[in-house]
């Protein structure tokens, strides 16, 4: 495998843009990434794109083809990756493999999304053989209910309080207000969060990420190409994809087996541990983590599931300020999904942008001091998990 560098990143700010197409959002992100890498569109040899279920892509998730047509049809290969909310991370992994394996020297990874209003409908399939259809038809438990059930289990098992949940959101906005690309930049108090409406008890409106529009892009290169281009490379030390294990005990379909140990997100844990192993690093070596905080629960559960801290310790680290950019275990210095909202398939690439800026020391008021090793992680429907470890 060849060494691969991130040479340029860029994004369109997150928000709601009813007058702008997803391809136009991607154009802004791609042009910013090309400018950041100091290369032109004709230097791009292949595109790995996240497939959207909600916008553009000719209704078939061909979002990478839309980008190529928009930027100029040079005839380059396009790979459109579908992995639910993990699609951006999945596209990054494939882009990395294309360069690491010697197929191409300069690859564009891009994810863009325009989301429909309101909470996401988990399944578009109306077939009685589809477990997600049965789950909604016979029970009625959309995405936030899944998170709420896991969160309530944590509260009963580890004693997590409603105030501690609220503090995760307060901390996210304390950091995210410094991010000019974030959609929600106001500060919240614990009282504000606890005063927001219950969405899926015990989770409240300000504790769950809304949906947003946005786009992000990254230019990744072989070491040879990076030297030729010059500039400021950040290296991909690990990139991994995993799918859920049979016996992890999460209540995903109608029913599963009762696990022998604690239920956990096996796809995320496996992707993270594989990416760390490729990087020759331990969880404690990470200077920062961008994780998929669809809800505050994940900022407590994931660090424990990945061995960054012990079970039940996440609340104490949060309350001690250790998850802030200046703490011992910085989590989501970008502000995370809570401050951006989820533009589903763009999120994996958005995370790579943030980790790259952090490792370059370009993150301004949300900078993690002297950051050298960072992790980006996504989780998607169907049991898809991705992880990227970047280093200086």
């Amino acid at each position: 495998m060849r060494d691969v560098a991130v040479m340029g990143v860029g994004m369109h700010a997150w928000g709601k843009f009813p007058e702008t197409s997803v391809t136009e959002l991607c154009r802004v992100a791609v042009e910013a990434a090309l400018a950041d890498a100091a290369i032109g569109w004709r230097d791009v040899e292949a595109v790995a794109a996240a497939s959207s279920r909600f916008s553009g892509g000719k209704g078939w998730g061909l979002n990478g083809n839309d980008v190529v047509e928009d930027m100029g049809s040079t005839g380059i290969p396009v790979y459109n990756m579908s992995a639910g909310c993990a699609a951006g991370g999945n596209a990054f992994n494939v882009g990395h493999a294309l360069v690491a394996g010697g197929m191409h020297d300069v690859v564009l990874v891009v994810g863009g999304e325009k989301m429909p209003k309101g909470f996401i409908q988990t399944s578009g399939v109306e077939e009685e053989t589809d477990p997600e259809y049965l789950r909604q038809r016979c029970v009625g438990m959309p995405g936030p209910a899944f998170w709420a059930l896991l969160c309530r289990r944590r509260m009963d098992e580890l004693g997590t309080t409603e105030e501690q949940l609220a503090r995760v959101a307060v901390k996210a906005h304390e950091v995210g207000r410094h991010n000019e690309n974030a959609r929600f930049r106001q500060e919240f108090t614990v009282e504000d969060v606890l005063g927001s409406a219950l969405v899926s008890d015990p989770l409240r409106l300000y504790e769950i990420c809304p949906v947003s529009d946005g786009a992000a892009a990254a230019i990744i290169c072989s070491a040879d190409a990076a030297r030729r281009i010059g500039g400021d490379p950040v290296w991909i030390a690990g990139s991994a994809v995993a799918t859920a294990r049979f016996d992890d005990g999460l209540p995903r379909g109608l029913a599963g087996i009762v696990p022998t140990g604690m239920a956990h997100h096996s796809e995320a844990a496996m992707a993270v541990s594989k990416a760390l192993a490729q990087a020759g690093a331990e969880p404690g070596d990470l200077d920062l983590v961008e994780l998929q905080d669809n809800t505050v629960y994940y900022e407590l559960a994931f660090p424990e599931e990945w061995g960054l801290c012990k079970p039940g310790e996440a609340e104490h680290l949060l309350e001690a300020g250790e998850t802030l950019p200046t703490g011992r275990m910085p989590i989501n210095p970008s502000g995370g999904f809570l401050c951006f909202g989820e533009a589903t398939t763009a999120m994996g690439v958005f995370q790579v942008c943030e980790v790259t800026w952090q490792l370059r020391g370009q993150a301004g008021a949300r900078q993690v001091p002297d950051a050298k090793l960072g992790l980006a992680q996504t989780l998607g429907l169907g049991g898809n998990g991705t992880a990227v470890v970047l280093k200086r």
């Binding site: 009625g140 209910a145 059930l149 008890d201």
Partner: protein, 146 residues
Amino acid sequence: MTQGQAPAVEGLFSEDGGTARLLGSRCGTCGTGYFPKSGLCHNPACDRSDMSDAAFGPAGTLWSYSVQNYPPPPPARYDEPYEPYALGVVDLDDGLRVVGRMDVAGPESLVAGARIEIVIGPIAHDEDGTELVSWKFRPAEEGRDA
């Protein structure tokens, strides 16, 4: 089920003499249970799929619970005006972790570890007034181990 009732989806549960059961399958080789029915054993540790029909429940233990505070998007069903309902995850004694609606007014009385029994109850009404029923979880009665 009584007249004027119909299952939300056919073939997923039975109710015999007041005892509700979930209709799934079990692998004769590794013993893994499935709900709904499966034509193949999905256990990667199992060497040979040997599936036959099996019924599960009604007794189990509550693993977690929540409330669906907002009207869920399609294809979920509910009656207007919307009334929030409680949700549960139950570990059945015969080895399945199952999701379902709770047959309780609110979550205040619920606690993980509570004994549960499966019942068949209404979740919504069809356009023609037919009551759609599904499996639900009810706290087991005092002194009666469901």
